[in-house]
């Protein structure tokens, strides 16, 4: 009886924030609700979520791991989507940590974002994120984990674009979205591959079936796909360029997403799928190499970052790289402890960034130097040649992003334009008017010359003398 109650309580951890987000969305229908109401609804939800997480801790301490099955979400013929949760020590620890961090963020943000035009939007997205993160942690199958993963992703993107009236946050959000979408293919491929390979995506069943399928190529493919997904979410080489750009969002969201929770979701995935990943030496080697390369690149980039938030973001990626290495070496307990302690430290550092800059200015005024100057002085011991080369490489973040743009993004866009020209040629729609698809010149609608046609209504922007503005990509 008690385990059932505790399990049911734990399973509600993602439900409370989701419910609160829906309630606030309904409150938005007639008009903008007051800050006080939004803050109260949010606070109640995150406190309840924390209580649910506490149920999880009690459950794990008293009864050990529980495979909690709630039936199927939907089914069609032989296929079904199981609603299953896996409650073990890893889940309980992460769920409680998520609940505490979200609660702190909410308390901090109520004051921090007071009278901000996007106040309600911020809390809806934070609740959405909290629901996704809890679902991701509690998920007992790869498919359910994917749903939480997507919730976290979309709320992250929308919070990066929080200050949507400026161009940079919006551009950064697109960058984050592109990386997430591409790397999410890995998680989808992993889930679909698991279903095809072992006939299930439920973690407990997958782990039980592994001994009979050890050493198969399918296992390697699935594992690599999951590692790719984790790399995207945790900003690892070579798909980590989005992390410093994501600092465009409000500081509170930077702290909770890129300091503590979202950026560590990839490591959580590695820990969750550890029995699968450790089957293959190739996967472990990939984890170690990716982690080490990221750690070095991000640590150097952090040293040369001109703004405090970017420096902390690079430092975060560097430490997460070390967690990848720990997972590759099979040091899972160390990785979990590292995750929680590092996430806590970075969370604090992000929230302190603004006042830390203030402190540094005071320090500079009082002592004539700062801690950063002392750190930079250590590089004086390195010979000027290598130092200059390293400096330049770090400043350009080892040119990873330009290389990806050149070898991946640009060919896709060029292909798109080539296909568009082909279509235009086939249709001959552009015979008399400038191209309007992906080409640069703007379309100018030909006037309707038939006698019964109404006078063309064109906005001033479309008048022939308006000129073609620069294309914004």
């Amino acid at each position: 009886m008690l385990p059932d109650l505790l399990s049911a309580g734990f399973a509600l951890a993602p439900v409370w924030p989701a419910l609160a987000a829906v309630v606030i969305a309904f409150l938005l229908l007639p008009g903008r609700p007051s800050e006080r109401v939004v803050a109260r609804v949010t606070a109640v939800a995150v406190w309840l979520s924390l209580a649910s997480a506490a149920c999880g801790v009690l459950l794990c301490l008293s009864h050990g791991p529980v495979d909690y099955r709630l039936g199927n979400w939907y089914e069609a013929a032989e296929y079904s989507f199981p609603l299953v949760m896996l409650f073990d020590g890893l889940t309980a620890a992460m769920s409680a940590f998520v609940a505490v961090i979200v609660l702190t963020t909410v308390k901090f943000s109520v004051t921090y974002l007071h009278r901000e035009p996007g106040f309600v939007r911020f809390f809806v997205l934070t609740l959405f994120f909290a629901a996704g993160m809890q679902l991701l942690v509690l998920a007992g199958s790869a498919e359910l984990l994917f749903i939480g993963w997507e919730f976290v992703g979309i709320s992250s993107v929308l919070l990066v674009a929080f200050f949507h009236e400026r161009a940079m946050p919006v551009q950064a959000a697109l960058r984050v979205l592109v990386t997430y979408r591409v790397c999410d293919i890995g998680l989808l491929l992993g889930a679909v591959g698991l279903h095809h390979w072992l006939g299930t995506t439920v973690w407990a069943d997958v782990f039980a079936g592994l001994p009979q399928h050890a050493g198969e190529t399918a296992g390697l493919a699935v594992g690599l796909a999951l590692v790719f997904a984790a790399m995207g979410k945790s900003a690892q080489f070579p798909v980590g360029g989005w992390l410093p750009r994501a600092m465009e969002g409000p500081t509170a969201s930077s702290a909770v997403f890129y300091g503590s929770l979202s950026v560590h979701a990839g490591v959580y995935l590695l820990l969750r799928a550890a029995p699968l990943l450790e089957q293959s030496l190739v996967i472990r080697a990939v984890l170690v190499v990716v982690g080490l390369v990221t750690a070095v690149i991000a640590a150097l980039s952090s040293q040369v970052s001109a703004d405090a938030k970017s420096a902390v973001a690079h430092a975060t990626a560097s430490q997460v790289g070390l967690m990848f290495v720990e997972c590759g070496l099979g040091l899972y307990t160390l990785a979990l402890v590292h995750l929680i302690t590092h996430a806590t430290l970075r969370y604090y550092q992000f929230l302190r960034t603004l006042s830390a800059v203030q402190d540094a200015m005071w320090q500079q005024a009082a002592l004539g130097r700062t801690d950063s100057d002392e750190a930079a002085a250590r590089w004086e011991e390195v010979a000027p040649g290598p130092r200059r080369a390293l400096y330049r490489l770090a400043l350009e973040r080892f040119a990873v992003e330009p290389a990806l743009d050149r070898w991946l993004t640009r060919p896709i866009m060029n292909l798109s334009r080539a296909l568009d020209r082909l279509e235009g040629g086939l249709l001959a729609l552009h015979a008399r008017t400038p191209e309007a698809g992906t080409g640069a010149p703007l379309p100018l609608m030909a006037p309707d010359l038939s006698p019964d046609a109404p006078a063309p209504v064109l906005s001033p922007a479309l008048r022939p003398d308006a000129g073609a503005p620069e294309a914004r990509v």
Partner: protein, 514 residues
């Protein structure tokens, strides 16, 4: 009693919009009254279609007789509501209604309103028909208003390509009917076009008829390389009247209603190629959409991509694949029509859908922005929406035999996500274009626009969170299509007989045979 009401409702569903179109076009002169009458007719049809769906739509027999009567020579008035079309009726009516309500009053002259009603009537006729000739007649008729529109669009190539599309559809369908008539005459059938009669007769049908229907269906879906007319019309044709005609699931419905049940052997033969054509179409549409600068073109190519996904799922011929494809065909209609409505609302307010001239609209229109974001998320299969369930099922259906196509579709969903967010960003976010002065009077969703948008989002979200009833509605149809596979394998057993077997299980059969 239910049957009597149904017997009344079925003809009303397609006759009333057609009569309404005639009245609005020829008998009413005053524009305000034309608009009122058109919207009134659309409301009536929507309520009746919803009533029919709620009353018997949950009865998931694949084929059942609801109304059957000889009409003219071998043309029979034979229509039915079943698991395959029950949901499409209110959905199509809702889209036509939304088009009418959203069209600016200045644009909703008699012609436009009449064309929307004519498309509604013919589409509902198509979905209801169980007679090949009636279906073909409505099928061709549903494209004619759009063809009329393209004559006024000042784009001769567009008019030409539309003419070719309609001519090709008409030729294919008429040729198929002629061949059906020949086959029926050879077998001595009284009703050679009646799909159920054909099934009962068990006469082997020449595969060329299946090819002709397949061609017409693929053309209607806009499958590569037969998509040119659709994307061109989606961009250049007058928007509000073109939308219900362009973005409809008629093509996939034709596949599921005629080609798959009557020509299972053909389907089995072309299953592999069709899966690959579908996947290539999905990728082609996605690649073209990602580079576009015009919102209407983005949506038109996105539709092509979605139709590729639907074809891929249907061509798997297994239960999860077909279930997912039928669900996707339905949800993509709602999502793409919703996105197109928003694009048209932007066009009506700003005078353009070129995203380089737009930007920062969220400050003027937060509701419109939220609507676009939610519809985009739904369209790319975000968890909790109908498309997520549909895509999941379609990909599961592909896994056994077509892993490459499954992997391609995953890439397509990623590209489509980027495409729609990029369009969202360029249109609604950012600092506002240098043409911001022209957008100063840009208004947000108002009145019916807002209420319709909220209803649309609610339907998509509720359907996505609780998808089982939607799957159950079509379970009978999918199950019946599954039963056709062993029939195809058995050389002696004609596929059409399976429909008859299925039909015999349905109630009311004997009453209607006379």
């Amino acid at each position: 009693m239910t049957f009597d009401l149904l017997a009344l409702a079925i003809p009303v569903l397609w006759i009333v919009p057609l009569v309404g179109a005639f009245v609005v076009q020829f008998l009413i002169r005053e524009p305000t009254r034309q608009r009122d009458v058109a919207i009134g007719v659309a409301w009536v049809v929507f309520f009746i279609a919803s009533g029919v769906f709620l009353a018997i739509g949950w009865d998931s027999h694949f084929v059942r007789d609801d109304l059957e009567a000889p009409l003219f020579m071998s043309l029979r008035f034979h229509m039915a509501v079943d698991g395959l079309n029950a949901m499409l009726l209110p959905m199509t009516a809702a889209i036509a209604l939304a088009s009418l309500l959203s069209t600016p009053r200045s644009d909703l002259r008699g012609n436009t309103a009449a064309r929307i009603l004519a498309v509604l009537g013919t589409l509902l006729g198509c979905f209801l028909a169980l007679d090949a000739a009636t279906l073909a007649l409505f099928w061709i008729g549903s494209m004619l208003p759009l063809w009329q529109d393209t004559r006024r669009s000042n784009s001769r190539p567009l008019h030409l390509v539309m003419t070719l599309a309609i001519a090709a559809t008409a030729l294919a369908l008429v040729a198929a009917l002629v061949l059906l008539a020949q086959a029926g005459a050879a077998a001595g059938m009284a009703a050679p076009f009646d799909l159920l009669a054909l099934a009962r007769a068990g006469t082997p049908l020449p595969p060329v008829i299946g090819w002709l229907f397949l061609f017409a269906a693929l053309l209607r879906m806009g499958i590569f390389p037969l998509h040119l007319w659709l994307t061109a019309a989606g961009w250049r044709a007058p928007g509000y009247s073109a939308m219900p005609a362009l973005f409809t699931s008629l093509g996939s419905f034709g596949l599921a209603r005629v080609v798959m049940p009557l020509f299972p052997r053909l389907c089995e033969q072309v299953s592999g190629p069709l899966v690959m054509i579908g996947a290539v179409t999905a990728l082609y549409g996605a690649l073209l959409a990602v580079g576009q600068y015009d919102l209407r073109r983005v949506i038109a190519y996105f539709w092509v991509s979605q139709m590729g996904l639907v074809l891929t799922g249907l061509a798997t011929l297994n239960a999860p694949g077909v279930s997912g494809a039928l669900l996707q065909a339905m949800s993509s209609v709602v999502e793409v029509c919703g996105l197109m409505l928003i694009a048209l609302e932007v066009e009506a307010r700003a005078g353009t859908t070129d995203m380089r001239l737009l930007g920062g609209l969220v400050r003027r229109a937060p509701r419109l922005t939220t609507g676009f974001l939610l519809l985009s998320a739904s369209a790319v299969g975000f968890p909790g929406t109908i498309s997520f369930v549909a895509e999941d099922l379609a990909i599961q259906g592909l896994l056994h035999e077509h892993q490459l196509a499954a992997a391609l579709l995953l890439v397509v969903t990623a590209i489509n996500g980027v495409t729609l967010f990029k369009a969202f960003k360029q249109t609604f976010l950012g600092p506002g274009s240098q043409h911001a002065k022209a957008l100063r009077s840009f208004a947000d969703l108002r009145g019916w626009e807002y209420r319709a948008s909220v209803a649309l989002m609610a339907a998509l979200l509720i359907g996505g969170l609780v998808p089982q009833p939607l799957l159950a509605v079509r379970a009978g149809a999918v199950e019946a299509l599954q039963k056709l596979e062993p029939a195809a394998a058995a050389a002696e057993h004609h596929p059409a007989a399976v429909i008859a077997d299925e039909h015999e299980d349905a109630p009311d059969d004997d009453d209607d045979d006379d």
